[in-house]
Symmetry: C2
Subunit: 159 residues, 2 copies
C-alpha cells in the first residue's frame, strides 16, 4: 500500500457536482438500458461533461460513466489532454477508469460509494485497491462523499 498524501479538501462546486451526479444516477437507474452510475468532469469550477454508464445502452463493456465523460470532455476541449480537470463519480472508479484518467492527465477524483461497501462486481481486480493506483504521487482521490445518497444502488447485486 502506498502512503496517501493529504488531498485538497472537496470544494463546494465539487460537492454540488457530486449531488447532481447522484440525482442523475438515481434517475438513470429507472431508464431503459441505463445503469445507475453517473460521472461528471469539471474544469476551472465548471462542468464540461456529464455522463452515465452506457455499457448496456451502447452494448460496449468499456463504456463506464467515467469513460464516456472522458470522451465527452476531450471532445469539448478539442484535446485528449485533460490536465487540470476533476472527475466526479457516484461510484469509486474501477481499475479501467483509473488508468484512463491517468492517461488523460486527470489527477483528482471525488466520488461517493466506496469499494469496501459495494458489490464486488464493480471492480476487475479485487486484490488491488485504490491505494495501489495512487503511485505515491499527486493524485487526489476522495471517496465516501454523499455516499448515503447512492450506496443503496450498488450495495447489492451478484458477484
Amino acid at each position: 500500500m502506498m502512503p496517501e498524501s493529504t488531498p485538497v479538501p472537496v470544494s463546494p462546486t465539487e460537492h454540488t457536482a457530486l449531488v447532481e451526479a447522484a440525482q442523475r444516477a438515481l434517475a438513470a437507474r429507472d431508464q431503459s438500458g441505463k445503469s445507475g452510475i453517473a460521472a461528471a468532469i469539471l474544469r476551472d469550477g465548471q462542468t464540461i461533461a456529464e455522463a452515465e454508464n452506457e455499457v448496456h445502452l451502447q452494448g460496449d463493456p468499456t463504456r463506464h460513466a467515467e469513460m464516456v465523460a472522458i470522451a465527452r470532455a476531450a471532445e469539448v476541449l478539442g484535446t485528449t489532454d485533460l490536465k487540470g480537470c476533476v472527475m466526479i463519480s457516484t461510484l469509486q472508479p474501477c481499475e479501467m477508469c483509473l488508468a484512463a484518467m491517468r492517461f488523460a492527465g486527470i489527477r483528482r477524483v471525488i466520488f461517493a460509494a466506496t469499494q469496501g461497501r459495494v458489490a464486488a462486481k464493480y471492480f476487475a481486480f479485487p486484490h488491488l485497491s485504490l491505494d495501489d493506483f495512487r503511485h505515491g504521487d499527486d493524485f487526489d482521490a476522495i471517496g465516501g462523499v454523499c455516499e448515503d445518497l447512492v450506496l443503496h444502488l450498488y450495495a447489492t447485486g451478484e458477484e
Copy 2:
C-alpha cells in the same frame, strides 16, 4: 507478485492473427491520425474483430486498440460477454485494457512487445506489472510473441 500458472501454448491461429496485427500496426503508423498499435479478437479460431489505436482519430484517450476491438467484438456477438474470446495485441495491454478485458470476460491474451522493452508512456502505473493483474487465476497472458516485428514502433518515444 502472483504466481503464474502454465498457459496454454500459442496456437498457429493465434500466431497468424498476431502477425496480421503486426502488419496492420506497421501500416497504421503511416496513416493520418492512427497509431501503430493493432489488436484483434478471436473466437473459436476465427477473427471476429480487428482494430487499431484510435485515440487521435476519435480524439478520445480511451480508444486504445484493445478497447476498440472489445467494442467491435461485443457488437458482432450482440453481447458484452466475451467469455471464451482471445485478445491479440501488438503491444502488452495497459492497465485500462487489462481491466476492460476482465470485465468483458476475456481470459487469454497473446501479445508482441513487452512492457520491459518499450517506452514507459504506454502504461499508466509503472509500479504495477502484468503479474499484478493476473490475480492468481486462470488468466493466460503470453508476451514477446513476434516481438521483433513491432518492437521498433514502441521502443522509443518520450515518457
